[in-house]
Symmetry: D2
Subunit: 156 residues, 4 copies
Amino acid sequence: MKVLIAYYSKSGTTKEMAEIIVSVLKEEGLEVRLSSVEKVSSKELLEFDGIIIGSPTYYGSLAYQVKKLLDESVSFHGSLEGKLGGAFTSSANIGGGNETTLLSILEAMLIHGMIIQGDSRGDHYGPVAVGKVDKKAENNCRRFAKRFSQLLKRLR
Amino acid sequence: MKVLIAYYSKSGTTKEMAEIIVSVLKEEGLEVRLSSVEKVSSKELLEFDGIIIGSPTYYGSLAYQVKKLLDESVSFHGSLEGKLGGAFTSSANIGGGNETTLLSILEAMLIHGMIIQGDSRGDHYGPVAVGKVDKKAENNCRRFAKRFSQLLKRLR
Amino acid sequence: MKVLIAYYSKSGTTKEMAEIIVSVLKEEGLEVRLSSVEKVSSKELLEFDGIIIGSPTYYGSLAYQVKKLLDESVSFHGSLEGKLGGAFTSSANIGGGNETTLLSILEAMLIHGMIIQGDSRGDHYGPVAVGKVDKKAENNCRRFAKRFSQLLKRLR
Amino acid sequence: MKVLIAYYSKSGTTKEMAEIIVSVLKEEGLEVRLSSVEKVSSKELLEFDGIIIGSPTYYGSLAYQVKKLLDESVSFHGSLEGKLGGAFTSSANIGGGNETTLLSILEAMLIHGMIIQGDSRGDHYGPVAVGKVDKKAENNCRRFAKRFSQLLKRLR
């Protein structure tokens, strides 16, 4: 089972979250590709069973570099049906748009016919780091990656 | 595998959608309980593998009768983890709040740790009837129920 | 100019936020009614130039007691056109649904044809208290009330 | 009073909506600039009292070309405070992401501290064209532009 983690990161915070998630996915025995979103072509999305997208919180939704990849994926519309998706974000403030950013990614995944899961504890829509990746954010990233792996195996 | 369809309906449109969904779920061999949301206690949610909630579109989110059930489910917070969820709505107008209504239900399901799936064709976030249940809405209900059944079996 | 602050509060946190907002609105010379949402009839909404609604974050949207008031306001649909609206919330966690709760209130206000304003600093969609009303939440409530007053006077 | 209408359009539908809105704003005596979003620099946003943004519905949120402009406007964060904003969209389907697209634009405007208004009739969050600009969509564009003009004058 193959998972893609595609992220955009300017300050390095979102990248740091991506790396934590990758380390847990590997511990769980999954084949993982970690890549900056600019180096992923929309066609490559087809190769993976799970797709996790990370973006900083910019004006309440995903960074345009991430949206570009999603917009271009329209060429393969319908081909991501049934794949597992997830999202994470870093933001400057609490209440600063992080939830709507996660939802902008998750909504795109739903429109692709993908499957997503929330979490009854911690960050419900996906891991959030406010300011920097503190212990709480790290734990939420680890927890998210573990749950993602388990569901991917269950869907197999 | 057991599925609950809980709906609130004043004019009968949402109920009509519920009945179409139920008929397909039964064709797919699932055990189904169809009930008005007022007759479901939050504790009963625990008994089902899949939960589908229908609400009219009232001011851009779920009817308060539906929200009451969800608010009361906090007593069992964590117990719906990993169950499959879905939502449908009827609304008076296009662009009249139907998408945000579906998302208000799906977000509650994510906060419960539930699993949801979108659809790359038709109504992406869940079936929508505008005004009445026309042929298109009926087809979207049938398609939704079929996909829900398939994913439930895959998750088993 | 008259403003209504209607809130639902179980633990007291949302009520505490409401009281801070009221104190600033009064300092600004506005006539204010503070009331638990259960004691407000939908018809009373018509009497005010500004309406501020506070709700705890329950499953990513407004408490059902608050939604009940909004659902019942359909009898006066169209009559709130051009009034100024605002929202605030208390939640248990960061990333725990507080933004989507604020938006569930603001979306209802937009559907009523009301006017809303965000904030480029602090809590963008409305004041948020996480856990309790700490100094930061208090400042955000005060800042929100001051901005609300200023816009209300400008709209006059 | 000056208003900017910035849009992205591939098929021409969003542009057609933009032109209808512009014609009404001019009838209302406003100074208007109509421009493709690619030809607007984020700095230019500062020159206008009102900003209206149009985008096709791509995967439930604004086109990346529109998001690019908003992301770049961070250099002037805080400078759009108190300006009036509005949004419109064209989409392929009902329930196909048009509401969440409008909200992705409106949320960005709120984060900029801007003022927005909904509509109790027609398209609540902003004009929507499904497929093509039919009579209903044209009327909603005209109605939206008229209301925008009136509020802009009231805010003056």
